[in-house]
Amino acid sequence: MNFGSETLLNTITGSISRDFFKDVITGLNGAHRKAVTDCEANFSQEVAKDCFPIYRRAMVEDAIKGIGRNYGFNARSVPNKSKSSSHVEIEIESEGKRLIFTTLAVYNCYDMSKFRKANFRKTLAEEAQLSFFKDIIDDGDGYYGLILYGAKPQSKDINFAYLGFPTANCKEWYGHYNLNDLALQKDDVEMIKDVANPMLKKNLVKKEQ
């Protein structure tokens, strides 16, 4: 389910509260649901199918920007070079490092087919994750991560949400984490003390050696 270096995972969990990831999942689900409902309600089936991805992207980006701001992160819309469109980035400062997240709808959580088409992602990956190539992760100045999500066709709920860190060449994942996992407080358990110790009965006779 999860893979990636401890350093990267510690940087994420050390600087971002679990509630943020929980809210991101809830936000993704809410945005996806609303997009499904609105498209179904307002358009014919064919048109709804065409506009759904664009509409959902808008809903998701808006939701994520709001959640980022709620947590005091630098969440903003960034235009592309030609200013023909924009994407939302969430930037988080952590111990001198920058974490930058954008969102991406994919077919499955490891899918990279759509990923490389957007120049801004490639640029972000190259700029933020150049250090990965040199194996000097701790000296790099930031990490670029993608909030990956997707749903089965006709489903009103998303069926996965991951945080993926692509390598700078955008061909592999440097780290890949289930958001449900990042959102969970795992050490919160009823610890059972082991006190089942048998006691010798009194007046037992020991065998001679």
Binding site: K22, C109, D181, A183, L184, P198, L200
Partner: protein, 410 residues
Amino acid sequence: MRQGMPGFNGKRLKEARDMRGLTSTSLAEMVGISKQAISRYEKGEVDGKTPFTPRPETLDRISSVLNFPKAFFLQASYIHNNTPIHYRSLSTATKGARQRAESKFTWFQEIADLLKQYVDLPAPNLPSFDVTDHTKLSAQDIEDFAAATRRHWNLGDRPISNVVTLLENNGVMVSRIDLEADTLDALSQYADYDSIPYVFLSSSKQSAARSKFDLSHELAHLCLHNLLSKGVCQNQKTHSEIEKQAHRFASAFLLPAQSFTKDLISPTLDGFWALKDKWQVSIKAMIVRCRDLEIIEDDYARTLFINYNRRGWAKREPLDDKLPIEQPKLLRRSFELLVKENIITVDDITTQLPYPESALEEIIGLPKGFLSPRNNVEYLPTLKRPQAREALIAKDSAKDSKIIQFPTKI
């Protein structure tokens, strides 16, 4: 006059034969006697005034063929409890599989009886809900009883780190053994003579989550169904109802509604996967729990199960190879203490409990060879790298080996 074996117990012969899964015909062939003789030994038929028993040399052969100590056949049968045994099993579990499990279960109780002569064990401390008619229990009653069980042990509503330890702390005797049938998961019983609860868990599934659920399921029988009669528990229809109640109790006990749903952010397979790491309950059981709590609809649960099967999780779920399986410790600790303190010796154990040593070790949870160190190879050297082994084989075969053709049929 026949020279039989005094003290021979035919029921023990039947028990040993069942344990090895042999018919009386095949045992007779292996021992070199007639099938009728086996039958007469087992039934304890009387030949004149004396019971029909095997000659000493025949008993030697029986003992050797069945791989049971000779003393086993000379030992009186254990007086069985009258309380019902609860099985967590599929309906496909064979009678033979149940019989074998039941025999080992009896041995388990005999082992514990011996132990109790020397050591004080934690006193049983289980809640009892005085259920005399299980049909009157509603789903909400079961939810309430599961919550009351947690309160009885001062537990909050978070995941339970170790259910085996929890039950052992509270006087339940637990053993994990190979029940030799995929269709049997666990069994439990209250001993009627000293009110000690016993649980057998199957070791074959190798899943911490499933095992935890199995044990909680047996806990349900011990708390909810302890007053039901054997007849009620063995009846096919009522057995199915009782099993469903035990399932619901186990789910509610391990996944309390409020705290579990608080952790459940998205009821997706990936969402359950993340939760499994924390709650140590199988993904399948969590889907069922969500359906029972009406968090998800039946249709959605069905979709989840279809995708669950597609991912191959019906055979092996994620984390099954990572989560540590809870191991019983009480029996093992007791025997180690007795041996360490020179109260009894290893020979005393095998004399007083004349079962196959491997079965004793398994039931008690002792390391293999503890009871018969002389007969066991303690260390088998192995080559570290497969390449090294292959290189050796290649070197060896190049030296003196030759290919021998299988003879062909003419």
